[in-house]
Amino acid sequence: MASITSLAEAVADLVHDGDQVALEGFTHLIPFAAGHEIIRQGRKGLTLVRMTPDLIYDQLIGAGCARKLIFSWGGNPGVGSLHRFRDAVQHSWPVPLEIEEHSHAGMANRYVAGASGLPFAVLRGYTGTDLPRQTDTIKPITCPFTGETLTAVPALNPDVAIIHAQRADRKGNVQLWGITGVQKEAVLAAKRSLVTVEEIVDELEPRPNAVTLPSWVVTRVAEVPQGAHPSYAHDYYVRDNEYYKAWDGIGRDREEFQRWLEEVVR
């Protein structure tokens, strides 16, 4: 059963230096507050996993928390590039960043395999691209019935998955809706999980298109209103698009970024 604690306590207990950590949320419900708490607590050597690294990983990478990134699309959606990510890959600043690069379909299926207790997943993917030459977690596999060659990718089973949801009840059952991405798979694939929520309520009344994660598959729940800002929480608040645009300027410059880090996060 999930226990309900503060965000600081949850991050201190669940996220350790060197862990493989997945913060998921596909454009929507990105767990920014939890990411900032990881920066504040000064975690190092993390392997960060995420389909769309987005600003949240730009910030974690720029803060020097990560030694490796497993991902499929690293941009500032609708705006442009992630400059801290670029700087780490191109100039090893502030520390070198190893990358393990996939496509969205591959990453999604890696989480599916992880959630399913399988060591790998099969897809039609990567064929003809240069990705398999660079990424050794992409291998061919032969169908035992048709002889056709497909692609296999290994399961992702992060040490910790962190997601943000609209709400939880007092037992720690979690409910999220709108675009739900790969959050269910990330939580079910991970060894431990932390869910930050907009609010804790007495009763989770059913909603269309909702995913409910029962308390017994969640390790910790922390109430963090606005915990997905500057991304959005469907039916709570909209995306702060100005923040995304402003980030382009902040992230572009190392000193500007460090000032932001000191003033806003630490």
């Binding site: 454009t27 609708g78 496509s103 969205h104 995913v211 995306r239």
Partner: protein, 238 residues
Amino acid sequence: MTYTTDEMMTVAAARVLKDGTSCFVGIGLPSTAANLARATHAPDLVLIYESGCIGAKPDRLPLSIGDGILAETADSLVSVPEIFNYWLQPGRIDVGFLGAAQLDRYGNINTTVIGDYADPKVRLPGAGGAPEIAASCKEVVIVVRQSRRTFLDKLDFITSVGQDDRSAFSGAGPRMIITDLGVLRPVDGEFTLTQLHPGVEVSQAIEATGWDLKVSPDLAETPPPTGAELTALRKLAG
């Protein structure tokens, strides 16, 4: 009405989407064009976004492929694994609409890296949904501004596959590259200029292409944007 070259490009791209078909919409210019198609001649165009929104009907341009307005207006909202596995992968989607950082004469796309992969000059965002969109949609349309920085003789990295060898794929691959100058279509597998937008010279297109651009003998001219198209586009863009 006067219009910009970007508006011409977006209008030209919107026009290729037939009403009642389904379109897997990539981020950026493709999303604008697909939404314009739905706002004009193709009200029953099914817009599919990789965020899991099937049949989205936004009345403004989404800020990202995961904008809440896509979820609110979708016929069906599914998980990200499901959108790739059940919807894209089996080849049930008619058109994949992609952008590109770089492309070559075969319609191969690079959105991964400029320079050496291990020691890149510029690190680009990466693959996202593109490799499987290019592989699995029945056909692919690329929407991109034409320039020597984008239209290259040789790519540093192939992120998604063009017309080179389609034997491994159910889909036909890229069938059209729509730019701010005109339209390229594959002739014997090589993208060839087949259409120019009004007021554009062949020499401009050749100049903006990093390979020795072939030009079709039956070069067509794109009809200019209609007032209705421009009005709809500007309304969408807000």
